[in-house]
């Protein structure tokens, strides 16, 4: 096995990732698409019919399987660093994927649709319990901005330290601002420990 830097002049960049989470239909894929330099890609994990993650192909020949798709985008930061943005799968039963996504991540954006605030509770719980930095981005679907940032913070029972911002996931600048806010939040958290 040859690792980078041993006998090959070619370099391989460092990869970092950000998770775009939130309830079903909150605009996760839209946000990934609005900032990604490539149209969002899809990758599939294999599950058995019972929903168990297949991480080894031995012994599953002929068994019924299904797949869960993850969509993701890419931002090449420079020749040495590349950032990936992963949208979480809509259904909450795929927690094993969330763990893989969250491991080593810069942090997460939890997208919220104020018409269905409760659909984002599981995402918030997930990142809170694992101590992963996250920001809450309220996706302003047309005319649906029913609440202020403070009201959303209160309704979601969020700690004061968690940034809450309004956004339009379709808008590149707006999504960029959300990502910048998350990265700064992560840096502040790093400085605090």
């Amino acid at each position: 096995m040859v690792f980078v830097g041993s006998d090959d002049q070619l370099t391989v960049p460092t990869a970092v990732k950000i998770v775009i989470a939130g309830g079903f239909g909150t605009g996760k894929t839209t946000m990934v698409a609005s900032v990604s330099e490539i149209p969002p890609l899809q990758t599939e994990e294999l599950l058995t019919e019972a929903g168990v993650h297949v991480d080894d192909l031995a012994g599953i020949e002929g068994k019924d399987t299904t797949t869960v798709a993850l969509d993701f985008g890419r931002i090449t930061i420079n020749t040495k660093v590349v950032l990936y943005l992963f949208g979480t799968p809509g259904q909450n039963r795929f927690w094993f994927m969330w763990d893989e996504l969250a491991t080593g991540a810069i942090g997460a954006v939890v997208l919220v649709d104020t018409r269905r605030l409760d659909s984002s509770f599981p995402s918030i719980d997930f990142f809170e319990h694992r101590g992963i930095p996250f920001v809450v981005a309220v996706n302003c679907f047309d005319g649906s901005q029913l609440y202020t940032v403070d009201e959303v913070r209160h309704a979601l029972d969020l700690d004061d330290a968690i940034p809450v911002v309004l956004c339009d996931a379709r808008d590149r600048e707006s999504s960029k601002t959300v990502l910048v806010g998350l990265i700064q939040h992560s840096m502040n958290r790093l400085a605090a420990v």
Partner: protein, 121 residues
Amino acid sequence: MTAREDWWYDEAAGPLVRPYAMVRGRTRPNAPDLHLVTQVRASSFASDQTSLTVEHREIMALCARPLSVAEVAAYLDVPLVVVKVLLSDLIERGDVLVQNSSPQIPDRDLLQAVLDGVRGI
């Protein structure tokens, strides 16, 4: 690649036959840790490819530039678990180079670089 429609629904053969056949049901006993964002790249000293399968060669072509495992799986249109086996073969041969690290929380300098990069897009 083409004819993806019948990939999972090959009624005569049953589900999963193609991806299973592609890796011949092999496990990955000595495989390196391959995560979603692990970067892989074809070596500039790649060995003779005549004994490789079509899928292996496709990976070699894709990885002329560095890509993540997730990107290779997406472009090849095969499940992650399959692409990991195929990549492991190539890594073992020394044909593909891999970043030797599990995902780590970025340090301050790396975060600053990402911040500057995102601001600049």
